[in-house]
Amino acid sequence: MSPEREVLRVEDLRVEYVTSDGPVRAVDGVSFTLLAGQRMGLIGESGSGKTTLGTAIVRLLRPPARVTSGRVVVDGNDFLQVPDRELRQLRMREVALIPQAAMNSLNPVMRIGEQIADGLIAHAQSARIPRRDVGQRVGGALAQVGLPSHLANRYPHQLSGGQRQRAAMAIATALQPKIIVADEPTSALDVVVQRQVMQTLGRLQQGLHAAVLLIGHDMGLVTQFADVIGVLYAGRLVEQGPVDDILDTPRHPYTRLLIDSLPSLDEKKPLRGIPGLPPSLLNLPPGCPFAPRCPYAFDRCRVETPVLQSITLLQKAACHLYPAHTNLPPLPETADLLEVAPPADEADVAVL
């Protein structure tokens, strides 16, 4: 197996929002690399900085957000330093964003085909697309996302929710980008349609041999799609590694509790949330941002911020339990976790 080429490297990226109460650091020293054809999932709850990170990578941040340090290296060049004129040519061709609620971002008074053609024409020179080929390329873009070419003549309101979402994906990927950043591409879609859209994204990724960064809050959805995942908490990557390793043996307590809080279809188990609340990024506690909610936290966690360290060859975690431990120890008995037993009748039957 030949090693894949690296297409994206994010190095120590920091993004701040300027507010009247001071700067809010939404992305705080995130680093990772993506190989050609790799599917990476980025999991985080609301306020964890996942959308800011995705937007920063495609350089679409708007004030009051600004990148304060770090690099986004696309094919060897720092994407953040590219002059604006070049940037317009690189975006969509190299890096494409499928934004959150993309289906609502369609222009209601333009036919789907015209909206796809728009991007193609804007890049006609640099991508060497002759005018006469545009129509054919529009059909190709629709085919990539599994939509029939006659939908090019429709207006957005004539399509169903799933079709609109796929049309938005066709616009984003019409120039066959090498990197696709998909920010919650299925939020607000029903579970069946969600599955279709995820399959479309999977086929698209395979067809283009593109690297995909899938951003989401749904652990089930992201782990079904991705090969590797990163877990974001308070703007920091707290765990990173191959999906199977992380699901089997999560190394960071937050990842572990997040996995435990997922309701399963196999057994009825007590519902278990994560105690406490995500921290306010405006005044982060000193030390590890997860410490106030962490059942494993000890003194060091409250003063010193842990850095991401390798636990195994492929898995990394930012936690002071390592390198003293190799695995997460069993949950401490004193853990103040809200627990509620499953409905009494079932539990009793099982015991009797």
Binding site: R195, L262, L265, L338, E339
Partner: protein
């Protein structure tokens, strides 16, 4: 067995009007469902958007009247009940709304939303009594009164606000709580605590809970029974163990197989049965089974007449001709499907 709340043969049709007969949309199609006085349980009403689940919830709470059929509370028709009866109905059947960000008036402290029902229904005899009740309710849903009271909604997280919504419902001393997608807008790490507080209300206070959702995994975890709706019709109903573990209706099977689970050994296949989406059809166009156009097992008969609810095994019924050799459900009340089986 007397019913506390009964929806009898109710239909709800939106749109239409005098000149637009063909634009009518059937949101709910002759549905009968009752919540018994005894044995309070948690029941899920599940389905995709457009399935009629929210319409059913609104009918149950009296926020909407049925186009045909009736809704009874304690034996009285909600449409014609007296002022005093309606007051009791309004107090004893409480909603929990989907969006914790929209349900609060940002100008009032959260105390306001908790005090109002006590005042409105005269449930507290003094200020200290009101305060005690509020603190008790907050603790029941896992909130510390000291850290909650006196705050404005924007100072609380979505999860906390949603639990205040639960506490508010609780202060009315309800018999039934109708929760419409209570956790769909809340973060994963906080969902469990809200669902757990619903379980506490059911188990410790004997409140029946209707849990409206599209999420079958949480339904499986907290509910005893489930009703699956598709375009206003019941397609499958029964105990969650039957319906979610071994679904018999092709639509329920599609829903269950579409759930993304954090288990890579069960990667969902690339084949996609039932391509296409639910589209509420005009009344006249629907002759047979509403799901037939998307159904992988559709037969000729599916397009000829709507399937009745068959009972392929105890505690469950499915409206599908695949099970036509099984007996047909004997009563129209959906709740009797699991009640009967229990006997």
């Amino acid at each position: 067995m007397t019913a506390l709340l009964e929806v009898r043969n109710a239909s709800k049709i939106y749109g239409g009007g005098l000149f637009k007969r063909h634009d009518r949309t059937v949101a709910l199609d002759h549905l009968s469902y009752s919540i018994p006085e005894a044995n309070p349980s948690i029941t899920a009403i599940a389905g995709e958007s457009g399935s009629g689940k929210t319409t059913l919830a609104l009918l149950m709470m009296g926020f909407l009247g049925p186009t045909s059929g009736q809704v009874f509370y304690r034996g009285r028709d909600v449409a014609t009940m007296s002022v005093a009866q309606r007051r009791l109905f309004r107090r004893e059947v409480q909603p929990i709304f989907q969006d914790p960000y929209d349900a609060f008036n940002p100008f009032y402290r959260v105390d306001h939303v908790l005090e109002t029902p006590l005042k409105r229904f005269g449930l507290a005899h003094s200020k200290t009594d009101a305060r005690r009740q509020i603190e008790e309710a907050l603790e029941r849903v896992g909130l510390r009164p000291k850290e909650t009271l006196g705050r404005f909604p924007h100072q609380l997280s979505g999860g906390q606000r949603q639990r205040i919504g639960v506490a508010r419902a609780l202060l009315c001393q309800p018999r039934i709580i109708v929760a419409d997608e209570p956790v769909s807008m809340v973060d994963a790490s906080l969902r469990a605590t809200i669902l757990a507080s619903l379980q506490v209300l059911n188990r410790d206070l004997g409140i029946s809970i209707i849990y409206i959702t599209h999420d079958l995994t949480t339904a499986y975890q907290i509910c005893a029974n489930i009703v699956v709706l598709y375009l206003g019709n019941v397609v499958e109903a029964g105990t969650v163990d039957r319906v979610i573990r071994t679904p018999k209706h092709p639509y329920t099977q599609l829903l269950v197989s579409s759930i993304p689970v954090a288990d890579r050994s069960r990667r969902r296949g690339e084949d996609m049965p039932g391509e296409g989406e639910a589209a509420a059809r005009p009344v006249a166009a629907r002759v047979g089974c509403a799901f037939a156009p998307r159904c992988p097992s559709a037969m000729d008969m599916c397009y000829e007449s709507p399937p009745p609810l068959f009972v392929p095994d105890a505690h469950r019924a499915a409206a599908c001709f695949l099970h036509k050799d099984a007996p047909v459900v004997s009563t129209v009340d959906v709740a009797s499907i699991w009640e009967k089986g229990a006997a």
